[in-house]
């Protein structure tokens, strides 16, 4: 927001309308914050409360007995293997995405690919249509290929969404890099490969890191494909949580959701400056 406007906003009307007006303004500001905080943190804090509630009798406003019993229980039981599985898969998926989509996004951004429109169209479809109806047909195919219930199948199904998402964010990263920089490198005798690694990649690095972390989060949170392809042999965290909540194990499900939330919130805090809105815009659609 520009400075003169701020000054105009804060000084002129208030002096004209007297002190009661500024009290009103403060109250309104307070109300806006209170409502926003309640809207966003209300549901989230419920999860935290439930995760440390050993006993909670209605209608007590707070848990009757507090404790970390369910946290301990969660870490001793099957949840730990689901946690390990989810993180393992997310890391593998992020690395594969990085290797496959960074060069592809670059050639697309620089128009160095034949039939670019058709290629882009193929990568549009998974963004534009619901996943479940398609993934249920993938399940049929994967039964035929003996991939259901295997780690390979699980990684492949995560890759479908992750690749598309990663490609879209990376194309916008590379498009934001000025082409004349590369032209200069060519003029000075740099080869395409040299230019890519020594000119383009260093500039694109923050965007690539942001995109990889978002892919990591996508894979960590993937539910539909994991439920159809992985379960019941390989249970990822979201599926574990779904099962726990289905069995009315409120506390276990809440512990799991708190754990699932932590990576995202951490990234949000740590990467504020890297998270440009065009990357996030692609993220929210998945």
């Amino acid at each position: 927001m520009s400075k003169p406007l701020e000054v105009a906003l804060l000084s002129a009307p208030m002096s004209e309308r007297g002190p009661w007006f500024s009290t009103l303004r403060l109250t309104r500001r307070f109300a806006i914050y209170a409502i926003s905080i309640f809207m966003i943190f209300g549901p989230l804090s419920s999860l935290l409360l439930w995760s440390v509630a050993e006993k909670w009798f209605w209608p007590n406003p707070f848990p009757t007995q507090w404790g970390f019993k369910y946290w301990q229980q969660a870490f001793e039981g099957k949840m730990l293997s689901s946690l390990g599985l989810s993180f393992g898969i997310a890391i593998v998926v992020s690395i594969i995405c990085l290797v496959i989509t960074v060069p592809l996004a670059y050639v697309i951004a620089r128009n160095r690919i034949p039939l670019k429109h058709i290629v882009l169209l193929i990568f549009l479809l998974p963004q534009a249509f619901p996943q479940l109806p398609v993934f249920s047909n993938v399940m049929v195919l994967m039964y035929r290929w003996d991939l259901v219930g295997t780690l390979t199948g699980l990684i492949l199904i995560h890759l479908v969404g992750a690749l598309v998402f990663s490609l879209w964010t990376l194309v916008s990263v590379f498009q934001s890099i000025a082409e004349p920089l590369e032209e200069a490198s060519y003029m000075l005798g740099g080869s395409r490969i040299y230019t890519f690694f020594h000119v383009v990649l260093p500039i694109a690095l923050p965007g690539i890191i942001a995109s990889t972390l978002l892919v990591f989060l996508y894979s960590l949170d993937e539910f539909t494909g994991s439920l159809l392809i992985g379960a019941p042999y390989h249970i990822t965290m979201p599926v574990f949580m779904y099962n726990a909540a289905g069995g009315y194990e409120m506390q276990v499900a809440s512990v799991t959701s708190v754990l699932l939330m932590i990576p995202g919130i951490l990234l949000l805090f740590l990467l504020q400056k890297y998270m440009r809105s065009e990357y996030l815009a692609a993220f929210g659609r998945v």
């Binding site: 406007l5 105009a8 806006i32 926003s36 905080i37 966003i40 209300g42 549901p43 989230l44 419920s46 409360l49 439930w50 209605w58 209608p59 007590n60 406003p61 496959i100 128009n111 034949p114 039939l115 429109h117 882009l120 169209l121 193929i122 549009l124 479809l125 998974p126 249509f129 619901p130 996943q131 479940l132 109806p133 398609v134 249920s136 047909n137 049929v140 195919l141 479908v160 690749l163 490609l167 082409e179 004349p180 989060l217 539910f223 949580m241 909540a245 809440s254 959701s257 939330m261 995202g264 919130i265 990234l267 949000l268 504020q272 809105s277 996030l280 815009a281 929210g284 659609r285 998945v286």
Partner: protein, 280 residues
């Protein structure tokens, strides 16, 4: 500046480009495009392999109500989302509210399944919201309504999850509005709400439309939120019916017919994407 376009690519460059694209294309084609086409084909086939429209008539007669219910829920959620994000986006554009933008970015980073569960815990009959209300002493805790497992619970969860993305798109559009225009309107005595609804929103009709199409599709295709919130009998979201047909009935014809119906409802987004591509 020397521009390299697709027509002047040498054969070597074309081969290199194709080789780079091959792995990603193979995965997405084999595991999305091909099954997508198969679902279209299978929706027109009976279990004996005869071409027929029976799957559609069966899907519509059993799940027609749920289909309309799903569109209704997504529509209501969309309207609520537009109202909330326009107000918040407008406030952020017109005034200084530190932290507000950050707070509303949080839903973007909270997984869908977690949102479903959180809303369930928050809105259940003996949930946190009702507990909090009963602390105030203004309500009798035993007659407070349950919002979870109901349409309202679904709407709340769908809106909540999309607050982040909605605000991001809305704010991006609002920030591109010319400052002097707003100052002129303010000089005429327009309040903040008037500025939002009479200036910011109408001036960004296109961007608001894009945001609406994108979030509508995402809400329609959302499976984990209805799966977590469930329902208390009565209508349910169409994705739950589809899942039921596959896992319990193993009737792929009807399931795929439901799938195609949801593709049709998502066509808005597809058309928008296509327009974007052809423009480039």
């Amino acid at each position: 500046m020397r521009r390299i376009n697709a027509f002047s690519l040498t054969l070597k460059q074309q081969l290199a480009g194709a080789a780079i694209a091959a792995p990603a294309l193979a995965i997405v084609t084999l595991l999305f495009v091909y099954p997508f086409l198969r679902s279209l084909q299978s929706s027109f086939r009976s279990q004996e392999g005869v071409w027929t429209l029976d799957n559609y008539s069966e899907a519509l007669s059993i799940y027609g109500g749920d289909y309309l219910y799903t569109l209704w829920i997504c529509g209501v959620s969309l309207v609520a989302l537009i109202i909330i994000t326009a107000i918040i986006g407008g406030l952020l554009r017109l005034g200084v509210y530190p932290l507000l933008e950050f707070i509303f970015k949080i839903p973007l980073f909270v997984p869908f399944v977690v949102v479903g569960h959180a809303m369930r815990v928050f809105l259940a009959p003996h949930g946190t919201l009702n507990s909090a209300l009963s602390i105030t002493g203004m309500f009798n805790p035993d007659i407070l309504p349950s919002f979870a497992f109901s349409s309202l619970g679904l709407v709340a969860a769908l809106v909540w999850k999309n607050l982040g993305i909605g605000l991001l798109l809305m704010l991006g559009a609002f920030r591109s509005v010319n400052e002097s225009m707003l100052e002129a309107a303010r000089g005429m005595g327009a309040g903040k709400m008037k500025l939002i609804w009479h200036f910011l929103v109408p001036m960004n009709k296109g961007s608001v439309g894009v945001m609406a199409v994108l979030t509508f599709t995402s809400m329609l295709g959302s499976f984990s939120i209805p799966a977590m919130i469930g329902n208390a009998g009565g209508s349910q979201m169409i994705m739950m019916d589809l899942y039921h047909q596959i896992v319990y009935q193993q009737n792929y014809g009807v399931a795929n017919a439901i799938g195609v119906l949801t593709y049709i409802a998502s066509l808005g987004a597809a058309i928008y994407y296509l327009k974007g591509v052809t423009k480039k």
